[in-house]
Each structure stands twice: as structure tokens, then as C-alpha cells.
Symmetry: D3
Subunit: 274 residues, 6 copies
Amino acid sequence: MHTDRTHRLADLTWPEIAALADRAPIAIVPLGACEQHGPGMAMRTDTTRAEVVADVVAQRLSPQVVVTPVIPVGVSEHHMAFPGTLTLSAVTLQQVVHELVDSLYRHGWRKVFVLTGHGGNNAAVEVAVSRLRADFPDLHIAWSGITAVVSDVVADLATSQVRGHSCEIETSQAMFVDPSLVFPERLERGSADLADLDPAGQLSRAHPGIHFPQAYDVLSRTGNLGDARQASLEAGERIIQTAVERIATFLGELANLPARLPSPYPPSIHVEAS
Amino acid sequence: MHTDRTHRLADLTWPEIAALADRAPIAIVPLGACEQHGPGMAMRTDTTRAEVVADVVAQRLSPQVVVTPVIPVGVSEHHMAFPGTLTLSAVTLQQVVHELVDSLYRHGWRKVFVLTGHGGNNAAVEVAVSRLRADFPDLHIAWSGITAVVSDVVADLATSQVRGHSCEIETSQAMFVDPSLVFPERLERGSADLADLDPAGQLSRAHPGIHFPQAYDVLSRTGNLGDARQASLEAGERIIQTAVERIATFLGELANLPARLPSPYPPSIHVEAS
Amino acid sequence: MHTDRTHRLADLTWPEIAALADRAPIAIVPLGACEQHGPGMAMRTDTTRAEVVADVVAQRLSPQVVVTPVIPVGVSEHHMAFPGTLTLSAVTLQQVVHELVDSLYRHGWRKVFVLTGHGGNNAAVEVAVSRLRADFPDLHIAWSGITAVVSDVVADLATSQVRGHSCEIETSQAMFVDPSLVFPERLERGSADLADLDPAGQLSRAHPGIHFPQAYDVLSRTGNLGDARQASLEAGERIIQTAVERIATFLGELANLPARLPSPYPPSIHVEAS
Amino acid sequence: MHTDRTHRLADLTWPEIAALADRAPIAIVPLGACEQHGPGMAMRTDTTRAEVVADVVAQRLSPQVVVTPVIPVGVSEHHMAFPGTLTLSAVTLQQVVHELVDSLYRHGWRKVFVLTGHGGNNAAVEVAVSRLRADFPDLHIAWSGITAVVSDVVADLATSQVRGHSCEIETSQAMFVDPSLVFPERLERGSADLADLDPAGQLSRAHPGIHFPQAYDVLSRTGNLGDARQASLEAGERIIQTAVERIATFLGELANLPARLPSPYPPSIHVEAS
Amino acid sequence: MHTDRTHRLADLTWPEIAALADRAPIAIVPLGACEQHGPGMAMRTDTTRAEVVADVVAQRLSPQVVVTPVIPVGVSEHHMAFPGTLTLSAVTLQQVVHELVDSLYRHGWRKVFVLTGHGGNNAAVEVAVSRLRADFPDLHIAWSGITAVVSDVVADLATSQVRGHSCEIETSQAMFVDPSLVFPERLERGSADLADLDPAGQLSRAHPGIHFPQAYDVLSRTGNLGDARQASLEAGERIIQTAVERIATFLGELANLPARLPSPYPPSIHVEAS
Amino acid sequence: MHTDRTHRLADLTWPEIAALADRAPIAIVPLGACEQHGPGMAMRTDTTRAEVVADVVAQRLSPQVVVTPVIPVGVSEHHMAFPGTLTLSAVTLQQVVHELVDSLYRHGWRKVFVLTGHGGNNAAVEVAVSRLRADFPDLHIAWSGITAVVSDVVADLATSQVRGHSCEIETSQAMFVDPSLVFPERLERGSADLADLDPAGQLSRAHPGIHFPQAYDVLSRTGNLGDARQASLEAGERIIQTAVERIATFLGELANLPARLPSPYPPSIHVEAS
């Protein structure tokens, strides 16, 4: 998958960025992780997925989008029992996101999109976004994961009863975005049926809407949740291309949105009773 | 709706709690909000919904569950343009939840359920839960909202294209849990169709999986998202009773789970390569 | 004791609050605790005392005062050896108070009174008030406990040499504000004479002006400091009614104070040498 | 007033401290301020009062007490309108106190006394002490101000209706502990009667037990609250000598207290119901 | 410059890391920046320099060293006037470094080297290292920049009187580690003589040992401090190869150091007076 | 060495400071430490050195400079194994420095110099300075140590191969600034040759530019690094007088610098591409 990098802030010089600013109203802030992805995939899988999706989206919308450097570690406490996983606390990641967006804001960006390749970052991102909205009332800020924007496609392609990490869905994506992430001969079926889980793991899967998070060393001997052996390049292409298309569509519409007027409601009561 | 309060920690004396401890392995921590709910509902709607659901669940499972006092403010920055709304930062609410659960842990509880009546608290709760799991490896901790555990029922009952706050679904719940929350003659239809939203609001609703949060004063003149006039006591009863049943079922199974063994994997590498 | 609740922010709708704002210049922020009160009183004793005093004061001054929802946990580390006690750190409570008053300020309130039913919250409140005064120079902010404003009455009514928690004075108040707080047959005499204390406890009581705080499990086998059996409804009525009268008098005068002009002395030297 | 300094940690070498440790079970941590004290007294008045009282107490009890270096700034936000005042936030001072006591604890001290010469530090000290008690259950920690331990003497000597800062009482103390603090010809009567205060200041003084703190530039044109011209060396000697005697008596008894046993009640319920 | 990546944690799978752990006692944590480097160099210059040096050092010492993913943003407040610069606060970067090293420690690493490509990160790294040493007494932790370890070589090669950012020295390094970082035709001479600086800038350079930091938009119109046009591939090769050699030599010796024994001196006095 | 104290803020009254402000554009903030200095020097050595140098510099430049009270504790974790050492965390010291300078700024000072007598404070000071520059764009802020500004003199006078703490250089300074700091008969040679160090200590000294900090109880049995017995009053006089002269020269030039214009570049892009 070819990506040119001229939309990447880190590859540009400051006069190029100054010249680009008027034509590039949107900045994407990609977030990754360095965490175990089972015996058949590299620790950087989430980082690379975020980076590639951000790149391709930016290419589609060129020159309207710039991309900041991907943050290569995230909130991965639940994987820490597996060697090599690195984790930030949610509070620290939240602060990192805040400061990156604050920097962009100071340079004039008013439309920012945070793209996380790792679901474990979601709560930190949501808190950061909430705080950024309070601090910068004239900022349009949005965020998403990758798999979450194509849940219909995923439902169509998934083969395991239990999945969600280094499963057939994620492994397929990795095959497509960067084949060097995947070691096909080492792919394993992890905990892929409810019966593979211990009682707490089963309970955590049995009640939609109730969150009962489990550490991955309890959930799975291999670190996989799902069956990585069922992955395919074709499935990966369909997932990623659809995600790219949907995010690009959203960002294209965001680019056309009028600027948000600063709404400094504090300290006054500015909504009248009807 | 009748609730006796003998499972409420705050109503008990310490010797009663000491006597109860062996038989009550689970503690529920309910969270609310003090925020605008349109012209026809009281600010404490989320607080009361959380409190009543917690009470009824505890009654069902009596004496296995105790309930801590509901926290009557939450993360409501997005409603601050409406008079009387109070808000905590997500960081502060996260800390409050951490300290409440830490207190319970010190008294011996190893199974805790956080129940939030307000979706705006979700990210703070998720961050708190993530941190609590790292700090207390032998703690079983789970959490949910109310409406989120009955999304199938809600889909069946909803009448508005756009909804989610002080809509027919939430107003129905309020009618059932505490009729004094609702002023029927003042209920209004807020922004209930996509056409009622401004372009940013429409965009925020058009892309599933992409989060583009909006302040409520931008989304709706009245503070309602949906049509509160379509609410009914019957719908509220069905929603709440189903939520209670599902949460009680989960907690009943949680009560029967074996204790989680402390898994102090730091500082060692305790998962062997396969 | 009858209390209507129309001054309670949480019971109102936002248009009602908008309509009330001009006539209600003062907001009371009540704070409680969830902590042991000996074998004869409920954990929520301080919460209920704060809530009731705030309600009755607000009724006396109606419609000049609104009341925020009482925070039902406080700083109770020194009671944590007794089952069921919940505690916030002082730093967290301080932050909660700051954010509640900040919310009120954003809605236009410039006169705020923090009322704590629990003495363990005092230092956190004082720190919060100090910071709020620096942040909002045009805010009039005041605070008190309950018992502390009637120390002369208390001196007249007390029967124990050592007292201060779940003693005859506090139990009397509980009997008056909410009889369901008290289980008369279980009331006990705790450590009520100096001779009942261990040497550290005795030392802590022997030097006025020197603070040598002790955990309650060291001070008292029952959790009482004083003799709860000497409590009476009559004493409680006299204490509470006097406290209400004094706080209401203060707030009535506060309501009539001219607005504090913002005094943004930073960054200049605005006081001239005489 | 003569003070030798051999009890001062900062004047000793580490082998001297190692040799002293067994015989000096108590450490005093003095706290001061750098804040305006009216036109006739130096900014360091509180610092010097704390330092001298700590020194003299240590001499009386020699060799049982060591003294840490006095912290020469405190929480003085309310004096910031007067040139030269320096202030720490309460949170920062609290942290400083925590870390100083933590250092002493690591060297083996289990009996620590914090002595503040500035009342504005009280809440920060109280919060620090509360946290230290939770962190170090086998630590005996106590604290006081200076004037507060001799309130009976002060009541006897005071001449102003309104006082409390750079008044006759504090100026007398300064004259005794270090005459170079006071410039007798520049001493002024500040706001010394209720009639000298503005309405907010009057209200703040009219209701015992209710705290309504005011910035000093609002309270007083000169920065004095009381009448510094009524100060005398004799009054200062009586106040300081009495304070020294009382604090020394307390610390002498503290030195004889048995060690506090570590009481690691978390995570268990260690108090049995009666 | 060829680099294989098998020592990079992020490129490995967890079983590979588990298998490697015994043979790789050292982890390098590289830190970069995303900040202006004048009109002729990309924002990621510091990131790439850190990453390449870490890679080559790891190759030399293979398999004794693993490398964590480079953090692509740093403390760059002083460059924020130039478009596209991103900055973290020093407190946040310090926290990120702490959490990365903490993660490595939990997986068993006891020898960690932080390598920063950006001098603006130094103070944050030093604070992090100081805290890590206190938290993990059995950890060997060291750190350096790149240019700072070859100051003798730099003195030999430099041509400008004033230099230090995007000068001939840094540009030469960039040419060698990754030619795509440099746009030769756009390289400029920035402020390269004292006469090019404003009076504050001149003062900041005139007193060795005194730090008087200046924002780069004040120091230089182009963002260069020095003369980027004097850069050469040969100079870059000499600088980088020497830095690699020296760091590799240090790490080789570090690998052979005996493990540091945990020295849990708190809470006791463990050094005896001589 | 004689020092008068009229430039010391803490010794002045507020009207004197108000009168002085126009003529004293510079404030010095001295920082010390309370840490072991071997068997022959007092714990307060760094504090006194900072205080005296600040005083003498201020006298030279009188009346252009005021001096705040010296902070008598610093970041001394690495000395905590020696009895009596007190330490602040780097984060806390950083906050203290920030708040002191913030106070000065609010009173109108725009030129501030932080002078640390203890090298362990450097990173905290550097972080504080970086944050202060971002917060107050119109502030000129500079900092230094003492020994670091005379490294050429030190190289000339030093006799030990290994030195840096309580060595001949520091002891000489102490003899000159305050003879009561030094106990000549107890001075010792500590670790003064590489051969006196353990392998980690040797490694830490062998690679210029690489930082591998060691706790002092590992480096030296006595706490000295160098040979205190080689100290002399004459060396101390030369070091201190030279440092004073250089710092005074710098501050004299700083006093003459034009005011820094506020450069509120956020939120705009204010540097144009060339």
C-alpha cells in the first residue's frame, strides 16, 4: 500500500507548513500502542494501522489534511503480563493528546481529528476531547477508532464467537496495511469460543452493555482473542478501505463546516428560558 | 416504586455493616448528575435513576449487595450553557470513583459495580476502572449505564429520529422511577429530527463510530434531544424493569464467581512463550 | 421537621432556575460524610444534618437562596478502621468544592456559602475557599460548620468531659433533624472521660491550641467520643434552631452586601505606600 | 533573646545527627511567611517568630528535639495586594510539609511537630497532617500556631476591638523575639474598630464560627488589623514565654509517649462489632 | 545508512521478546521532537537522529540491546512561534519517560538508557531519571543527548560563532542519518554571529554557566542558530559515528556491570557515622 | 564576609518595597539544600553559599537588586542515605520556584534570576524556567549555579581526580562565606580517585556527556567526593569573588536590557515564511 508523506507535519519544514496552513484546515492526530498481539503479530500493529489509515485518508483529501506523528505507545495495562508491552496511564495519554491539540490550536487549526488504532486508548481520548471542548469553544474536534467505524463489515467477516484482539479481523487489517507486521506461520487461534474463557471471561461476554474488563493473561494463553489463522489479505483490504472511505467522507464534510463561533458562555447565563 | 433502604451503607450503623459484610460480597457505587433535562424534568433526573435502579437491584439480590450514597454531580460540561447545571471535570470524577472503591476495598469488598445514570460520566468511569484494575489485581470491578443495557428495548420504543437526552426514552424512565421528576405539561419536543440540527449536529449524527460531540446549546434550543412528549409510564416501566433484571442477573453471577487471585505480575515476566 | 424543596437546584428545571436567578443571589453548597457514628447512628448523619440545615435556612430566606445537592462523602480517613466508612482525600474534596463553586460562578452566582456537616472537611473547605478567592476576586464566599456556630449553646448542653463525635450533642441534633438516623436502644457511652482515653488521646485533649489528631479506633472502642445516651430531642432542637437562625442572619446580611468589585491587582502594585 | 543552634539540623553534620538520633526523638518543622506586616514590621515576622519559638523550645528540652530549617514563605494570597508579599498555593505548601516529614520519617523520626508562625498556613498544614497520618500509621504528628496556644493571655493583653495581623499582639511578639523586625516610629493603628471596616469586613467579624475571609487590602489601608502602636516588649515576652512553656510541656509529654504501633488496617476490617 | 530492526521492541512479537530477555539486559528509550529546523530541514530531525543512533548502537551490541519506539514529540515551547512545532510540557514528557521505564522494569529490565535527540528534553529527562532512581533502587539508569557526547568533535568542525540549532553541526548529522531530512537548496545561514542576535540574545551567549534562554523567534528570523549551508555529509558521518562508538562503549560496559542490589534505605538510617 | 541586608525582601516593610520597586528592576531567588556535606561541613552549606552570593551581588549592584528569602531545602534524594538530609521532589521544587516568581511578577518584576547553591536543583529550576517563559512572555528570566560559572577557576584549583561534593572546591567556598560551616579537624578525604569508586561509579565518570547518576552512599563512605582536607580560605575567596563578579556583571547588563515585549503568539501563526 503506497503512501506518500507530504501531508505529514514531521516531514515538512516550517515554511512549507506556513504555506500549507490556509489550504489544510484539518489535522489528524494518530495514536497507537506498543503491546502484545499474540505470537504472530508485531507489537506495533495498532501504531501502524493508525498511521496508514491517517496517511491514506490524508492522501484522498489532499491537500486539506495534515497528520501529526503517531504516538507509538498507549494505554495497555491489561496486556502488561505479556513481555515487551509498554503502557502509559490513561491520565498521561490524555495529557499528551491535550498538549498536541493545544499546539495545533496555537498554530491556527480549528478542526482536529484524533484517530486511535488501539481501543484501550478510547477513554483517555474521550476525556481529552471533553476537556479540549471546554478549553477551546471554537474548536471542532472529533475522534474514532478504526474497526469501530466498520462494525457492519466486521460482523460480516468475523468467524469467531469471541474476538477483539489479534483476531481474524485485526490480523487481516495488519496483512493489508503492512505485511511485515504478520508472521503467518506463527498465527494462532487464541480464545475464540466462550468455552475457551474462564468463568469471569465468560461473564464479561454475556451481558451486552455491561463492562467487566479482564486482563489478557486471564482471557487467553496466547494473547489472541479470536482466531488469527482465519485472517486474509482480502478481508483486510475490505475493512481498511471501507474505514478510509468513511473517515474521509466525514472529514470532507468537516472541512466544509463553517467555523465554530467562540461561545464564551461563562460567566453568564446565555440561554433564555423559553 | 417502593424501595426499602436497608442495603444502603449510609443508612446503616457500623456494627450492622460489620455483621453484613460476609453475606454482602458486592457493592454498587451509583453516580448521577445535576444537569439540565429540558423544561419538563428536574436537574437530578440521572441521580435518581441511578439511585433507584441500584436500590431495586439490591433488593432483588438481598442481602448480597450494599449500595454507597449516590454522587449527585457528574461530568456535564456540555450542558453548562443551561442555568443550574453543575459539572465536575472528568479527572475529578475519576478520582472520586477511585477513592470510593479504594475505601470499599479496604473494608474487604472484592466485587464492585459502578452504575452511572449519566452517559457523560462514562469515560471518567472507564479510566477509573482501568486504574483500579492495575492497583488492585484481586478486585472484580464492572460498570454500566442504565439505558445502554437495554438498547434493544429502547430501539423498540423510541419514536424520534434523533434522541439521547431528555427524550421520550429518558422521560419515560423518570416517570416510572419518580413521578415528581417530571412536569408533564411542560414537556417539549426538542431537536428530534436531523433537520432540527445545525450542520455540525447533523454531521455528528451521520457517521456511526465517529464521535463528534456537540454542546447541548448548539444541538437544541430547549435542551431536549428527542421528543419528551412521547414519554409514557408504561415505556418507563419496561425499560427500568428490564435494566434491573439484566443488571441483577449479572450481579448474581458475579456474586458466585470465585475470588480473583492476586496476580502481582510486576516485576516479573510471568507468561511463558508458547 | 418539614422541608419543602423548591430552593433545591436539583429539583428544579433549568427555565425555573433561569427565572429564579435574579431573586436568589445566594447559593449554599452543603457537604456531608459517610462515616461511622457509633453503634446507634447511621453513617449519613453528617450528610443529613448539612442538608436539613441548608434546607431550613433556604426556606427562611426564600426565595433568596438556592441549595446544591449535598455531597454525601467527605474526608473521613480517621474513621476508616470502622466498617463502611468511605473517605475522599482532602485534595479531592477540595477539588470537588472548587468545581461546584466554579459552576455556580459561571451561572452568575457571586455569593456562595459552603456548609459542612462534618468537621473533618474543614481544612479541605478552607483550602478550596482560599483558592476560589484568588481565582474569582469578585466572589463573596463564606463557610461554616453547624456545631461550630453554636459553641456557646453546646457548652451549656454538653454533659461529657470528652466529646466531639456521636456524642450527646451530635446525637441530639440527629434526633431532631431526622429521627430515622438514631437507634435509641443502641446508643452507647463511648470515651467520655479523659480516663477513657489512652495516653496519646489524653495528651491530645490536654493542650488547647495544639492539634494532635488521633484515629478513632484508638480513641474509642465504640466510635463514640462522648455519651450518646444523654442526647435529647429538646437539646437537638435548640442546637439546630439556633444554628439555623445564626446562619440565616448571616446570609440575610450577605444578600444585602454590595457586589464585590473585581480587584484584578495582578500584575500591578495597586496599593500605594502611605 | 539568646539562641544557640546545636539542635538545628541544618547546622549539624551527618555523623552528629546519626549520633544524636537516639536521644532526639522529636523533630520540629517550623513554617513562616514572607508577607506584609504593615508599615512598621518586616516581611519575615512570621518566619522569625516560628524560628525563635522552635529554637527556645528545643533548648528547653535539649537534647530531645531537633529543628528543621524554617520555610520562609507560606500561603499569603490574601496579602498579595501589598508589595513584596510572596505566596505559595496551599497545595504546594501541603506538599512541601509532606515531603519534609517524609524525609524525617525515612531517617527514623516517629514524633514530629509542625509549628507555623503564620495562620494562613493552617489549612495546608492540617491537610498535610491528615495525609501523613494515613501514609504513616506509626507516626505521632502534631501541630500548632503560636498565638493560638496562648489565646487566654492574648485576650488579657489585647486593646483593639478588631485585631489579628500586625496588631498590638503580633507586634509585641516581634519586639521580643527580634527587635530588628520592628520600626517603632513607623508603627500604625490600622483597622482596629469595627467601624474601620467596610460592610463585608464588618460582616466577617460579626458571626463567630462563620468564616468569611477578606483580602487585607479591603480590610485595612495600612495592612494592620489592630493597633501596632499599643505593642510592648513586656507583652511580647509574656506571650512568647507562655507559648514556649506550653509547647515545651506538650513536647516533653510527647517524648515520653510509647511508640505508636503500626496499625495497617487496610485492607481488612479490624474493628469488631460490639 | 543501513539499519535492521530486529532489536526494536515494536517490531517483535511477545514470544520473541520473552526469548530475547535473558540475552538483552539493556533497553534504550529514544526521544525526539517535532519542531522547526529552519527552512531546510524537516520537523522530525531530532526524532530521526535519536532513532538512527539507537538503532546503530543496538546493532553494534546485538543482541544485548532492545530499543523502544521513539517518542516523536518533545519539549519545544521555545520553537512554538514557528508553524507546525508541537510541544509537550516538561511535566508531561517526564511522566511519559517514567511510565515507559516503569513498563520495562516490570518486564525485568534493570539497565535502561534514555537517548534524547533534542536538548530541550534534557531537564525533563533528568527529573524523570531522578525520580526513577528513587522509585527503583535496583535500576541502573543513564541518559545522554547525541551532540553532547561528541563536544570535542563538534568544536573541531563548527564554523559559526553562534550555533546550536539547525546549524552546520546538526544539519551535517541529518544528512548522514537520513538524507531525506535535508533540502540542500533551501538551507540558510541563520543567526551565526553574535552581531546577528538582539541584545538579550547576545547577553545569553556572553556568560558561560549562566542560563538565559530565549525563544527562537527572537533569536533568529529563519529558526537557524548557526549556518546550515556549511554542513557536509562527511562532518555528519564523523559526528554520528563517534557518538555511536562512545555510547556503544558505555553500554557495553554497562552490560557487564553487576546488578545493583536493592538498597531500600527507607525507613532506616543505614549509613553509620564513621 | 560582611553583608548588609537592606536588599532582602524579607527584612523590608511593604512601603519600603513599594518605594524601592522603580529602582530595583531585578529580583534574585536563591535556592539551597539541607543535605549531608561529609563529616566536616554543616547540612546548610548550599543554602548559605547561595544566600551569601546573592547578598554580595545585590550589594554590588545596589539598589538595583532585591533578594527573596533562600529556600533551605532542595532536591537531595541521592543523599538520603545519610542522616538528616531532607529532600523535596523535583516536581515540588519546580512548583515552589514557579510560585515565587509568579508572586514577583504580580508585583511588577520583569527580570528575575534564580541562583541555586545546589546542583541537584538544576533540572527542577530548568523546568520551572521553561514553564515560566511560556506563562509570562514578557519576563526576562535567567538562572545559574555558583561553581558552574567559575569552572575555569575550579579547574585551576582542584586537586582531586574525582570531586564534586564536599570536595576541596566546595569546602573552600564554605570557609570563605561562613567559617562556622566548616569543622576543619573533621574534614576527610572521600572518594577522590577513580580507584575509590565502585565499578558503577567509575563508569559514571568515564564518559563525558553521558549521565549515569549514582547515590552518594554508593559513591563514598563519608559522603565526600573529592578531598576536603585540601580546602583553603584563599581558594574559597577566589572562587566566590569571581562568581560574584561574573554574576554581577551579567545582572548589570540584564538591568540595562530593554523590557521584553509581550509576544502572545498563541493562537496565531506570527512568523511568516521567508
